[in-house]
Subunit: 158 residues, 3 copies
């Protein structure tokens, strides 16, 4: 268990992350990661069968930044845009050396093509968070999806 | 950023608000607003295009109270009732003069005519909150809906 | 109202509960209850009409443990399994003698047979929580479902 101040910083990072994605503020999304960082989005069934196939796999900050370039420059205008709304609830938190391992439940609602809100994906985040100069950043963020078949293809990270 | 005690009061106001609406306790809903207050429920596409057309627009406490009269007296028995369940997650908070500007994600589940639960609306609250004698109240509450087409018409505020 | 430390213990119990169910860790679920405990899952319409018919009704820790035996031993292999994801938001909290009465909103997402995520059930928890040696445990947990017709039958507790 971690002290209340650290937990507050961790929760602030998670809401900053959610807010950036929901606002399509991709620079804000990148800013949630540290210099040494990774981002993975993977189906739970692949995790459970120990299959390495991921939906998104960015194993460095450079690749995380590449993803933003793809979304904002390369793919721009070629996909049907969508509005997400993230909810995150921390369910576990433990120190792991200099890092903090945090597990959270998440659900992402989105507005579908008919204009209705439904669940895009649900799952858990398994994160490794570093605290440097009092600020929390992701060293590793892994979004594990319960959802097997998403109702539309994913463009933005989860 | 605001101190932990103030944040706790703000979060308590938001859950008091959610609880009042989910219990159809309209006096409890009115009690979340200060003497000088406004309530607006508006589609995000209208906000983004700077169109003033809102779904609900109560620009004074008197109008907020009028809405309750309509729901409880005028419309009573004329609409198909429904049960909501609100979830609110604070994603931003900043002092603005004597007020605190708070941004939150929300999702409202409801039980549809087939008896199933689905998402009624999702979106963000943009609120201005006042602290008076240690109690938090809404000076202005704006519910901005991501949802373009709600699965049923809205009677209760969001 | 209860002090911040007690609230933190209560919220930790709720997330421990959610995490156990989402991980199908039934021993973890049982461990959330005290020696003297009850678990009830009931439709809101039955509560409102004061009808005692419940979906699940375990009036002792022995019956709570029996439920786990049924799920893990008796029913095992006879039902289509499913993955849940719980979200809980505390909306009320008041001391009641030596216990703390806590009310929360909940929503449970699940992955349906088509691989999509939707809402399984939404509703409120009405809990009585005891604090013993600094640890919070349920003396009584009641899950009241808004959902009238669940999209699939429930095997796991909510």
């Amino acid at each position: 268990m971690t002290d209340a101040d650290t937990l507050a910083r961790i929760d602030a990072l998670q809401t900053r992350y959610a807010r950036a994605l929901d606002a399509k503020d991709m620079a804000g999304w990148t800013g949630c990661f540290g210099e040494e960082a990774s981002y993975v989005c993977i189906a739970r069934e692949n995790v459970e069968q120990d299959l390495p196939v991921a939906i998104m796999m960015d194993d460095s900050l450079a690749r995380i930044r590449d993803r933003v370039t793809y979304i904002e420059k390369v793919w721009s205008g070629t996909f049907e845009d969508y509005q997400t709304r993230h909810f995150v609830q921390r369910v576990g938190c433990v120190a792991r050396g200099p890092l903090i391992a945090v597990e959270s439940n998440f659900i992402v609602a989105y507005t579908n093509a008919r204009g209705r809100s439904e669940i895009l994906v649900a799952g858990t985040y398994e994160d490794e968070i570093e605290l440097r100069d009092g600020e929390a950043r992701f060293r590793a963020k892994k979004a594990i999806l319960d959802t097997v078949t998403t109702p539309r293809y994913l463009v933005y990270p989860v």
